[in-house]
Symmetry: D2
Subunit: 337 residues, 4 copies
C-alpha cells in the first residue's frame, strides 16, 4: 500500500506536534505545510527542509494529497475543512470541529457525499488511561455510575475569537461521551467573563444524561493551579483520572452500601466501605501519536474514525447549548439530537 | 470575674470536642452534660467524673448555668435553643443554626429580647488561615476578586434527617461571607440524591454577589478524595486555602494583565504574569479553641459574636434558597435579606 | 481482675499523651503524677483533678502502685527506672531505654530478678501500618529483602543532653529490627554537629545484617521538610511506609528480573516489571493506645512485651556503636550481641 | 561567522536528544552521525535524511568537521574522545568523561595541546533552577551552608559495564561542585550489588568539603519512586531543588538561632524560626539546549566551557575514590587534587 500523502494547514501552537507525528509515521508522508505567517513556515522549514511550504493553503489542492490536517484558529475550521473536502481530501481537524452546529452538520454531510474521512482531534479518545477507565466502566467494575466531575484549569492561554468553552471543554465533553457511551439530554452552564468583556474565561457546565446520571465540568483560563482531573463515582467503586499526576488512574474500592430494611428510620445505618486503592500500571502511548496513526489507518482503509465528524458535531451541539444556557441564566437547555 | 458556667447538650460526634475545650478554658466551668443516650453519658463521665450528667436537657435549666452549648442533630437545634434562651441562657449552637429561616429569625429575635448571646459554631471564622486570607483580600493584595471556588468532599458521613447542603455547605458559605464581607444576591444549585432517594449527597452551588462576583461551592458525601479547598481568584493575585495540606495557604503572584489599547483587534495580546508563590507561615491556633474562647468572652462581656445569630441566619437563608433552586431545576433564586 | 494502678513520672512533652491513654483505658487507673516542674503538674491537675500530684517521684513508691510510666529526659531513664524496679514496680520507659548499654543490661537483669515487666516505648511496634508491612515481608510478598532506607527529618526539637541519634533513631532502628526480625552485625555512621558544637543534629547510619541485607537511616533535626518514610526494596515487590501521608503504605509491584543465562555478556538484558501499585486500606488504631493497652496486659498477665527491655537494649547497643563509629570516622563497628 | 560543523557519535539513548538540539541551533550544522547499529542509523535517517550516516566513526575525521558529540557507552568515551582530539576536533562527551582519572587527565592534556574545546555533558550546570539555587548560595541568602543532601532514585536502567555511581552520581556530584564552588577533601561510600553480582545498583556517598561542610548522595537503580532532589541546609535558610516537581525550587525561611550566652546550661533554649516558604518563578529553558548552545559558543570563540575537561575529571576522581571506599568498607578516601 502506498503511503498517505498529508498536508498540514496551520503551523502555530499545535501544528508542530501534528507535523512531527505524521512525519515520523512510516505510513504517511508530510508533503506540504501551509501557514499565513512566514516565521512559522521558517520554523518548520528548519526542521523539515524537504517539505514544500506555502502561505496559501489553496496551493495544497494541486499536490496530489490524500489528506490534510487543519490546526488553524477555531473560526477558520469550517471554511477550510469545507474547501478541503470539496477538493476530495480527507480531513483531520483540530477540536472543536466548528463553532456552530449548522456548519458542523454541513461538514458531516459533505464528508459522507465525498466519501472522505472526517475526523476531529479529540486526543483523549486515544489516551491509554481514558481507554482503560472506559474498560473499567463498561465491565461494571465501578457499578452504576452516579456522576462524573471534570476539571481543566490553569492560567491562560486566552484566545481572541472564542472563549474558554470552545478551547478547553471539548476535551472534557469528548471524554464524558466516550466514557458513558451516551449523549446528554440537557445542559446548563454558568460562565464568567472575568478579564475581558464578553469573553468567558471561567465556565461551569452541568450535563444531564439518561437515568439521572449527571456530569459536571469546570473549565478555567484563570486558575493558579494546573488541574486536569476526571472523577467517576460509581455505586461499587470510584475512579480518578489525573492527567498531571505521575500515576494517571486510581481506583478506589470505596462506597456506601445501602442499609437493608430497618424497623425504624432511626435505626438507619450506612455501611461505608473503605477498601484498597489500586493504581494500575498503564502502558504509556503518546495519545497524539495514536490519534495520528488512527487517522492514517482510517484514510487508508475507509474505516470510521472513533472521533469522527458526528462525534465532533455532538461536542459542538453541547457547547452551543451551553452558550445559550449561559445567556439564559443557567437554564437547562434540552439538546435536539 | 466569675467563671462562665456552661452546660453541654449533645455528646455525640462533635460534643466531646466542645466539652474538652470548655473544660480546659480557665474562664469556663463545664457544670453539666445532657444526652439522650446513656452510653454517650458514660463516655463523658469516664473523662470528667465531677460533672453532672442527665438524659434530659431540661434539668440544665435549674443549675444556675450561664450558657449552653448545643451539638444535637440539626432538626433539634431550634426547639432546644429556643427553650434555652427562654430560660435565660446564652447559647452556642452548632451549625446550621436551624433548618429553616423562620425558626432562625425567631431565635435571633428571642436572643435580642432576652439580651443573651446567640452564637453559631461556624468554626472557620476562627481559623487562623481564613483570617489571614481575609486580611489579604481586605488589604487589596489580591486586587479585585473575580470569583471564589470552594470544594468540601469526602466519603460519608451520611445523616438521616438532613442532606449534604445542611451538613457541609454551612462551612463554605460562612467562609465565603466572611472573606467577601458581603451576602449573595442570588443562589442557584444542582443537587443529586445518588444513594438514598430524596437525600442529596452531592450538591453544586453558585452564589452571585454584587458586581458580578461569583462563588461556587461543591459539597459531596460521595467522593473518593478528602478535599477541603477554597480558591480565590483576584485581578492581581490568586490564593488557595487547602485545609488538608501541611501548608494551609498559598499566594500565587499570577494573573493576566489586560492589554493597553491596540490598533487592531488582531494585535490584542495578553500579558501573563507568572511570579513567585508564597506560603506564609501561619501560627496555628486550634480553631475550635478560638471559637470557644470567643463565646466565653461574648457571654462575659456582652460583646456581639463574630458568628452571631444573624450570621447563622444568613447561612440558613442561602441554603433554603439553594434547596428551592434544586427543586426548580437550578433557577437563580433571589434572596430576600 | 483488679485495675492496674499506674503512676506517671514526667509530664513534659510526651507525658500528657501517656497519661491521657492510661486514664482512658478501663483496665488501668492513673493514681499519681510526678514532675519536678510545678507548672506541668498544674497543667495535669486542671485535667485530672482527682489524681495525686508530687514533685518527687519517690513519693510514688508508697502508694501501692503496680506500675510506673517514665517519660523524663533520657539521661534520667536509668536511675529512675532502676529505683522503680527495685521498689517492685513494673516499668514502661520512653525510648531510649538508657543512654548506655551497661545501664540497659542492669535494668534488664533487675527486671528479671524482680520478676517485673520492663517495657520500652517503641511506639511503631504498635502501629497498624508497620504491623501490616511486617506481615507482607514475613509472608514473602516482597520476596527477598535487598535493603531498607529510612528517613526521619524535620526542623527541631533540639535536646540539650542527647543528640539526634538518641532522639529520633530509636524509632527507625526499632522499626528495622521489627520488620527484619533480626539484629545487625555491624553499624557505621556519619554525624554532624551543625548548630551546636558537639551535638549531632544530622546523622546517617548504615546497618549491615546477615546475608548482606543493609539498612540506611537518615535522621535530622535540621531539615526543611517533615519526612517519616521507610522504603523496603525486595526482589519481588517494593513497599513504602510514609507516616505523613494520608495513605500510610504503598505496595509497588515493580522489580527487575534477572536475565536467564545468555551466551554473551553483550546479550544481557534486564526485564523490568512495572506492575500495579496497591494502597491497602489499614484500620487505624492509635499506636500509643495500643502500646498502653499492651503494657497493661503484660503487667496483668506477666506476658513478655513485644518491646521489652531486651528489645530496648538492642536499640541502645546499636546507637552506642553508631556513636563510636562517628568518632572513628565512620568505621564499621561490629556489635557484640 | 560560519556555522560549526558537528558530527554525532552514538545515536542510542541520549544521542537523539543531542542531535535534535544541534540540528535546531542556527549556528551549528549536523553533518554526520555515526553508530555501530544499523537500526539506530535508520531511526536517525528517517528524521534527518540530508545528513551523512556511517557505522564507523573514523569516517568523520575526513569531513571537515569542527566538533564531535560523543554519546556512546561510558567505557568507549576515552578511546573515541582521544582519537577525535588527535584529529583536531573539539569534543563534547557525555558524562562521565572517562571511567578512570588517568585517562581523563590524558584527555585534558590532549585538549590543551591541541588547543581544542573539551566539554563534558553535565547538563545540570546549564539548568535554570540550579543556576538560581547557586545564586542564592553565592549571595548568602541561605547563610553558611551546613550540608547538602541529594537523591537520584528510580527503577532502572541497569547498564552492563558500569555501575550506578558512573551512571547517576555524575549529575549530583557536578551539581554539588557547582553549588559549593569547591571540591571535596575526601569521600566515603557504601555500595550494594542487589540484583547482579559485582554491579552496584544502590550507593550512598558522603563527601567532605572544607570547613566540615558535608554532602550526601544517594543514587539507586532500585527504588519504587522517581526521586531527583537536592536539599541545601544553611544557617539562615534552607532550599530544596526537586526536579520532578512542577515547582523546581522552594526556599524555606526556617532555621535555628543559636541561643545567646546563658548562665546555666539548663537555661539553654533554641529559637526556631518558621518563616515563609517562597517558590520563585523560574523561566524555564531546556537545559540540554543551553548546554548545546554553550558548546557551540565555546567552539566558535575558544571560551572555556563551564563543564570543561577539568570539571569532568574532578567528577571522575571523586567516583574513583568512592569506588575505592566501597571496596575498603567505607573508608574516607582523601582525594589528591
Amino acid at each position: 500500500m502506498e503511503n498517505v500523502k498529508v498536508g498540514i494547514i496551520g503551523y502555530g501552537y499545535w501544528g508542530p506536534n501534528l507535523t512531527r507525528n505524521f512525519y515520523e509515521i512510516p505510513e504517511s508522508d508530510v508533503v506540504a505545510v501551509a501557514d499565513v505567517k512566514e516565521e512559522q513556515l521558517e520554523r518548520a522549514r528548519s526542521k523539515y527542509p524537504e517539505v514544500t511550504y506555502t502561505s496559501d493553503y489553496h496551493d495544497l489542492f494541486d499536490m496530489g494529497l490524500d489528506a490534510v490536517v487543519i490546526s488553524t484558529p477555531p473560526d477558520s475550521h469550517y471554511p477550510i475543512a469545507k474547501e478541503c473536502l470539496e477538493n476530495g481530501l480527507s480531513v483531520l481537524v483540530e477540536k472543536p470541529l466548528t463553532l456552530d452546529s449548522e456548519a458542523g452538520e454541513l461538514l458531516v454531510d459533505l464528508a459522507a457525499t465525498q466519501n472522505k474521512t472526517l475526523m476531529v482531534g479529540h486526543t483523549f479518545e486515544y489516551n491509554s488511561a481514558v481507554l482503560q477507565l472506559r474498560d473499567y466502566i463498561v465491565e461494571g467494575e465501578l457499578g452504576d455510575i452516579y456522576y462524573i466531575d471534570a476539571a481543566r484549569l490553569n492560567l491562560g492561554l486566552f484566545q481572541k475569537k472564542s472563549h474558554v468553552l470552545w478551547d478547553l471543554a471539548p476535551h472534557d465533553i469528548s471524554i464524558l461521551l466516550y466514557l458513558l457511551q451516551d449523549q446528554p439530554v440537557s445542559v446548563s452552564a454558568h460562565g464568567m467573563p472575568c478579564v475581558f468583556d464578553g469573553l468567558y474565561d471561567v465556565v461551569y457546565l452541568n450535563l444531564i444524561f439518561k437515568n439521572n446520571v449527571s456530569a459536571y465540568v469546570h473549565v478555567s483560563w484563570l486558575d493558579p493551579c494546573k488541574v486536569r482531573r476526571v472523577t467517576v463515582v460509581g455505586s461499587e467503586k470510584m475512579a480518578v483520572f489525573n492527567d498531571v499526576d505521575e500515576y494517571k488512574i486510581k481506583i478506589y474500592d470505596k462506597g456506601v452500601d445501602k442499609p437493608l430494611y430497618t424497623n425504624t428510620f432511626d435505626e438507619f445505618q450506612c455501611n461505608y466501605r473503605y477498601g484498597n486503592i489500586t493504581i494500575p500500571n498503564i502502558r504509556y502511548l503518546e495519545p497524539l501519536k495514536q490519534e495520528c496513526l488512527h487517522f492514517i489507518d482510517c484514510v487508508s482503509t475507509g474505516k470510521k474514525p472513533v472521533s469522527d465528524g458526528v462525534s465532533g458535531l455532538r461536542v459542538v451541539k453541547i457547547i452551543e447549548a451551553a452558550e445559550k444556557s449561559i445567556k439564559n441564566h443557567s437554564t437547562h437547555e434540552v439538546i435536539k439530537w
